[in-house]
């Protein structure tokens, strides 16, 4: 509910408020050096006017009932009278989620009669200082002088809650921001009105004694808390699932403006600062919603301003949410295919000499086809602009080359003796074909044909299990801009870089394995595989 204050001046002021009356500095609500009164939005059928003869009315709603002082939604005294009639219940500065009880009582415990209830929904919530047109009150009023009246469209809608009539407790669900108001006749015959206030029961509106009592009520009620920016997101989500964050003002009756929305998202070891487009002015009661796929654990902050009681307040709101990063299918990113025999490849064709180095076998590791990577980019929401991996290609089968020389039928194999005895020109016993067969089995084991753990393949697979590249891929997020294809290519390159980095480390392990296993393998033969030295 919008609350606007105006200076009334002294009781001896001009008999009718002039348009100027609404201009100028609006004093804070607790400064009661002069009478201050809520200008209850620009809504009432007839705003207010000074008391007519025989009444003390300050504000009249449709001429049916009146009160001069009400509480605003923050529990602030708008003017002040001792609490004679009090109404307690839920806040109604936003639509209520469920019905709740509103209770009307006399402070002195006296009986109340002729109880009636209303819900007032303001059509406009701002007072911009414009002059209010002076018009004559329509019949049946007999008041002939023009009074300031708002146009119909700007007036409060007043709905009587007939179902609560005569009851001191009214169960009601406010459909919008507004005020629950009740009126009753006290035991002494006074007719008073009251407006619901949260928790604190600040009485409202005597017909008489209004001015005199003002200061005491002001002291009894706490000053209102300034409005705050509420930024709310679900606390956690899973990557790719939709997440919605909402930005609103605690006081749903005020227009506010958001000038900055910043995101700091983290995934794996990467962090991204993103500035989202700011929504600018947001209507009173409206919620700014940011909805899109969750990509990375995020801290979200927003800055803005609101005009509040004559000053501009800076607003800051922040929140965060956690995103579970890794798709389950990437838990173990290893080779699912056995290595593939690929002929002799570039092995030494004719290892008749050890001088140039005899490569009997090769283990060739294949990188995943990262170009066929599938990614998704958040086009909306708090993680807008962040891309993540949706699916990644498998690791191709490694290739194993073995020289033909160690297979029966090859001239080199056949050149070896069947029976032990011959020496090569270095005077060392030449291996028999049977020994070369043993060597072939060992070479197959060494490269990984048998899937042995003590093989290049076995080392590779164990390494993949250890480094958890899948976790890296699953956590990998990029904020690169561009077309979907450009983003995909860039992310593929980033994944290939990581693969290469780990590959370089694995290669050192493989080399150490060669340095240990090959000499042992050859030494175990007890002969020279070379026909000549």
């Amino acid at each position: 509910m919008s609350v606007r204050w105006k200076r009334l001046g002294s009781a001896s002021a001009a008999p009718y408020p002039s348009p100027e009356f609404f201009r100028g500095v609006i004093p804070p609500p607790d400064s009661l050096a002069e009478y201050a009164e809520l200008y209850f939005t620009r809504a009432a059928g007839c705003c207010f006017y000074l008391p007519r003869s025989g009444t003390d009315a300050w504000e009249t709603y449709d001429g049916r009932w009146r009160f001069g002082v009400v509480m605003d939604d923050g529990g602030r005294p708008e003017a002040g009278v001792p609490a004679v009639l009090q109404l307690t219940g839920e806040r109604t500065d936003a639509p209520m989620a469920a019905p709740a009880d509103f209770t009307l009582s006399a402070v002195d415990g006296g009986l109340l009669s002729n109880v009636r209830w209303w819900f007032m929904q303001p059509m406009a919530n701002t007072f911009n200082g414009d002059s209010i047109p002076f018009v004559r009150e329509p019949p049946p009023s007999t008041f002939t002088l023009p009074v300031p009246r708002y146009p119909d469209a700007q007036r409060t809608t007043v709905v009587e809650l007939t179902e609560c009539a005569t009851q001191v407790t009214c169960r009601y669900q406010a459909p919008a921001a507004g005020a629950v108001v009740a009126m009753a006749t006290l035991a002494d015959g006074r007719v008073l009105g009251a407006r619901a206030t949260p928790a604190l029961a600040c009485g409202v509106a005597g017909v008489s004694g209004l001015r005199a009592a003002g200061r005491s009520l002001a002291a009894a009620c706490e000053p209102p808390a300034p409005p705050t920016l509420k930024l709310e997101c679900p606390s956690s989500s899973t990557r790719g699932e939709k997440i919605a964050c909402e930005l609103r003002l605690s006081d749903a009756t005020l227009v506010f403006s958001v000038s900055e929305v910043e995101v700091y998202a983290t995934s794996g070891t990467s962090g991204f600062s993103i500035v989202l487009s700011a929504p600018g002015p947001i209507a009173a009661g409206a919620v700014y919603r940011m909805e899109g796929p969750a990509v990375a654990t995020t801290r979200l902050s927003a800055k803005g301003t609101v005009a509040w009681r004559g000053q501009t307040l800076n607003l800051v709101g922040s929140t965060s949410f956690v995103v579970k990063e890794r798709p389950r299918e990437l838990d173990e990113y290893v080779m699912t295919l056995a290595p593939k025999a690929d002929g002799p490849g570039r092995t030494t064709k004719f290892p008749s000499t050890n001088r140039g180095g005899s490569t009997l076998g090769l283990y060739r590791r294949q990188p995943p086809l990262f170009d066929s990577l599938q990614i998704a980019t958040a086009a909306t929401g708090p993680n807008r602009g962040l891309s993540y991996v949706v699916s990644v290609p498998g690791i191709p089968a490694s290739l194993i080359n073995l020289t033909f020389a160690i297979f029966p039928g090859d001239p080199w194999y056949e050149a070896h003796p069947v029976q032990p005895g011959p020496l090569n020109d270095a005077g060392v016993l030449i291996c028999t074909r049977s020994k070369i067969d043993d060597l072939r089995l060992q070479a197959e084991r060494h490269e990984g044909v048998t899937l042995a753990s003590n093989s290049h393949y076995g080392l590779d697979q164990a390494f993949l299990r250890r480094v958890k590249l899948g976790a890296f891929i699953g956590a990998h997020v990029s904020n690169v801009a561009g077309s979907p294809d450009q983003i995909r290519r860039q992310m593929a390159l980033e994944l290939m870089q990581e693969w290469s980095r780990e590959d370089a480390y694995l290669w050192i392990l493989q080399r150490a394995f060669d340095a240990k296993d090959v000499p042992a393998m050859l030494a175990a033969l007890g002969c020279s595989i070379y026909l000549k030295d």
Binding site: T353, R355, G427, Q497, R501, D503
Partner: protein
């Protein structure tokens, strides 16, 4: 990294030789004389080209003949300049891919950059350059000739390769190779397969630079 790798492989070759010989390592002088004789003979065979019944022995021997072997390797690789048969090129490549020698490097670099050389020969020269620069890299014609601009060049890695050494590579070998690749990439006249190879060379060098700057640290457990 390259220096360390080379040193290790030299050690490994020696270790392999000792292990295979078992006992009775020949005297150095006698071995040296025999080596020189074998090298001279092997270089002549390689220079004559195939067919020769000792061709396989000759190729294997040449790789252990140091810089002299490099000259023979260079001459052999110059055949790639006009060769369009990828099977022949693959065979030649398979014999020389692990012979790190300056003369061979210069020949490959020259053909890769030579606009009038056969496209297939230029692609294989690009592969050879990468093989000579990086021990673990395993270029294939399939990917070096078909990778589109901006795509990942799928160069695998190889374990078990034994690199032999001739004359040391120029200290700026990597930079020269990169420049040659970029010249091709920035030009507009090279055949598509050569552009693809240049892309793979450029990407391979960049990738190795990145890996050197971001070495992997395994998880501790």
């Amino acid at each position: 990294m390259g220096h360390i790798v080379r040193t290790t492989f030299r050690y490994f070759s020696i270790a392999l030789a000792i292990a295979s010989i078992g006992v009775g390592v020949p005297k150095a002088n006698a071995q040296s004389d025999k080596d020189q004789h074998d090298c001279k003979k092997a270089i002549q065979i390689v220079a004559r080209g195939k067919p020769d019944k000792k061709e396989e022995w000759a190729w294997a021997t040449v790789l252990g003949c140091g810089a002299a072997g490099g000259v023979a390797a260079r001459d052999a690789w110059m055949q790639a300049r006009t060769e369009v048969d990828t099977r022949s090129l693959e065979e030649l490549y398979s014999r020389l891919w692990s012979f790190r020698d300056s003369a061979l490097f210069n020949a490959a670099h020259g053909i890769f950059a030579d606009a009038v050389a056969s496209p297939q020969g230029r692609v294989y020269s690009a592969m050879l350059l990468v093989s000579l620069l990086f021990d673990a890299q395993d270029p294939t014609y399939e990917f070096f000739s078909s990778t589109k601009s901006l795509d990942i060049c799928r160069t695998g890695s190889v374990a078990g390769r034994i690199v032999s050494h001739g004359g040391p590579l120029p200290s700026d070998a990597e930079e020269r190779t990169r420049r040659a690749a970029q010249t091709i990439l920035h030009g507009s006249t090279a055949p598509a397969i050569v552009v693809s190879a240049a892309h793979c060379v450029d990407q391979g060098i960049r990738m190795n630079e990145w890996v050197r700057a971001h070495p992997y640290t395994p998880p501790t457990r």
